[in-house]
């Protein structure tokens, strides 16, 4: 019961924040709402017994992505001003989004989903995750490939940002 209340509070919080992100006219407010939304979802990860994911969520999303966008909107002040003027409400877009949401909600109720969560692993899921990331029979290659992806990005972003 307690968990359900916590879930509902933070789910509603995250959802309202998400809607604010796409509707609020001021870009600086949108960034703050985006951070709030990520924070609300991080709390849900705690409910899901995944404190590690909650931490990552706060570090990468709230701390990284949202702050990055925030800083950019401050630096590129003109772009932010422009964005404020250009907030629009699009009926076709909301109809598309809403109908796809209803489709997904129907699907969620239609498909057989497990009722009870898996028991917590005695070894600790974080240790298992760490092992899987460096295990050739696990997910070593995707883990390495993340490094390649970030290198490409770093090099490319440096090039794009270079003064000339």
């Amino acid at each position: 019961m307690f968990e359900q209340i916590v879930f509902l509070v933070f789910a509603v919080f995250a959802l309202v924040a998400a809607i604010k992100v796409v509707t609020t006219p001021r870009i600086s407010h949108a960034v703050l709402w985006l951070m709030s939304c990520f924070f609300g979802v991080a709390v849900l990860y705690l409910l899901l017994d995944s404190p590690f994911m909650a931490g990552i969520q706060l570090l990468i999303y709230t701390g990284g992505v949202a702050v990055l966008i925030g800083v950019a909107s401050v630096v590129l002040r003109g772009a932010a001003r422009e964005a404020q003027r250009r907030v629009t409400h699009s009926w076709p877009a909301s109809i598309v989004a809403l109908s796809l949401f209803l489709l997904m909600a129907w699907m969620t109720l239609e498909l057989p989903l497990p009722e009870a969560p898996q028991a917590a692993n005695p070894e600790g899921s974080l240790a298992l995750l760490g092992a899987a990331l460096v295990d050739p029979a696990g997910y070593l290659l995707p883990f390495e490939l993340i490094g390649v992806l970030l290198l490409v990005l770093l090099v490319g972003a440096l090039y794009l940002g270079k003064e000339r």
């Binding site: 290659l141 992806l149 090039y159």
Partner: protein
């Protein structure tokens, strides 16, 4: 076990090593030197990668739990790497004269190609997602590479916005597959789905409930890779500065070819390994979903191609239509259908490489890329005009060219499998495409060249053109060895079952 697994990654690793080497050289050398050495280093690592695929043997191997190396992978990798090597040759003069960072361009191209190889071999949904992202981020940067040209940066932004949306949609679909099965491996997903279906007398999942998930995955994958120029040609009011037009010809060629080939390989693997054949899911995926996409691509590409006056755009639409024909191979999902798919894909790559080479050459001289710039080309540059004619005939499917073999086989298999409606639509689209192919041929061969200057053809472009012309003709006239390769590659998915 670890070392031997990495051996099978040799082609990918040589591309990555090449990219890192170029980045390193870039720090030491100045622009002039990079212009001279960058493409050689890239070419060397591309050739090394291509060569290493011939040393790996034919036995199917599971590489590091997330990739599969087998004859199918080898076929697709050779196709990709062959195209890459030619692209480097082709782009050389263009890159030297048009960019201020040639080293970086080649490094990005290597990363891009490595992403394509990984997409083609992936057997795990998260691996596929990541590889597709590597492909698309490197591709976005390549589009935006010609920084001085503002149109290129706009093209890159479009690429990023559409690409990211498609990544998200695809990831959403894969998250559901994971949620229903508890695994991200294709084969295990297939087993788990069969288990969900078969364990109880009444079906546990109604297949219809999974259709949205299938559609997300399909749309995400195909839009993001299979039709890379997709996001460039959505029509915009008064918009003539779209990304595909903005991107330079060598970039356009690599964006059109590499992701498509890799995306098709991934689509084939998803269809045949991840979706259990016995389930309705497999059927739903093939006929309504992939089939509709095939029809849409064929008709859309052919009809909108008719309206284009810019030859790069025209060829982009033609590419969409070609994509539709190749998708038919996935709809069939039989051994013969799959062989036909590989054959058609190879023919497409040859003709497309050739066409883009020709366009790139003319574009150096006349950067507007209008069809009318090709007036009387046979007088101004005979080799170029002859090549263009041959490639267009191959794309159309003229007997004696590689494209004919691919199309004929695909259409025969479609007929044999009983998809008559699909066959009629494909034939119709072929006929429509004659309209715009004819326009290019007419401009090149029938219109007078009054007032048009001759077009000099650089040596590298001549090499690529002649190689592609020989390829198209040889495969069109003596296709036997080639067909056997394609059949061997297709057998990978059917040998055990």
């Amino acid at each position: 076990m670890l070392i031997s697994d990495y051996l099978y990654l040799a082609p990918v690793l040589s591309l990555l090593a090449g990219a890192l080497l170029i980045l390193l050289l870039d720090l030491l050398a100045d622009r002039e030197q990079m212009g001279r050495w960058g493409w050689k280093a890239a070419l060397a690592s591309g050739l090394l990668a291509l060569g290493s695929t011939f040393l790996l043997g034919d036995a199917p191997v599971r590489v590091l739990n997330v990739l599969a190396y087998d004859v199918f992978t080898a076929y697709v990798w050779r196709l990709l790497l062959g195209a890459l090597v030619l692209l480097i040759l082709l782009g050389e003069s263009y890159v030297r004269s048009h960019t201020d960072e040639p080293g970086l361009f080649y490094a990005l191209l290597m990363f891009f190609a490595a992403g394509a190889l990984l997409v083609a071999a992936s057997t795990n949904t998260m691996m596929l997602l990541l590889a597709v992202e590597l492909l698309s981020i490197a591709g976005t940067l390549l589009v935006g590479f010609l920084h001085a040209d503002r149109r290129a940066t706009q093209g890159a932004i479009r690429c990023l916005v559409y690409g990211s949306a498609m990544t998200a949609v695809m990831a959403l679909g894969f998250s559901w597959f994971y949620g229903l099965t508890g695994t991200t491996d294709y084969a295990l997903t297939s087993e788990a789905l069969s288990g969900l279906w078969g364990s109880s007398p009444a079906p546990v999942i109604r297949p219809i409930a999974l259709v949205p998930v299938l559609a997300f995955v399909l749309v995400g994958l195909v839009v993001k890779t299979g039709s890379a120029p997709f996001h460039h040609w959505l029509p915009g009011a008064s918009d003539v500065s779209g990304g595909f037009v903005g991107a330079s010809a060598p970039v356009a060629a690599s964006l059109a070819i590499l992701p498509k080939v890799a995306g098709f390989a991934a689509l084939v693997r998803l269809t045949l390994v991840m979706l259990p054949e016995a389930l309705d899911l497999h059927i739903v995926w093939r006929w309504p979903l992939v089939g509709i996409l095939a029809v849409a691509a064929m008709l859309w590409g052919s009809l909108l191609g008719l309206r284009q006056h810019n030859i790069k755009r025209l060829m982009a639409f033609s590419g969409i239509a070609q994509l539709g024909y190749v998708l038919i191979g996935v709809v069939l999902a039989t051994e013969a259908g799959l062989s036909a798919l590989l054959v058609a894909l190879t023919a497409y790559v040859l003709a497309e490489m050739g066409t883009f080479t020709a366009i790139a050459v003319v574009s150096q001289k006349m950067p507007l890329d209008l069809v009318s710039d090709y007036r009387g080309l046979y007088r101004r540059a005979p080799l170029l005009a002859l090549g263009l004619l041959l490639f267009i005939l191959s794309l159309f499917g003229m007997p004696g060219t590689a494209g004919f073999i691919g199309k004929l086989w695909l259409f025969t298999e479609t007929f044999r499998a009983g998809y008559i409606g699909l066959l009629i639509l494909a034939a119709l689209s072929s006929v429509i495409s004659l309209g715009y192919y004819g326009r290019v041929v007419r401009a090149g061969f029938m219109d007078s060249d009054a007032g048009m200057a001759p077009v000099p053809v650089p040596a590298a472009a001549s090499v690529v053109l002649i190689a592609m012309m020989v390829g198209v003709l040889v495969l069109g006239i003596f296709p036997n060895t080639w067909l056997r390769w394609a059949q061997a590659a297709a057998q990978v998915f059917f040998a055990s079952g």
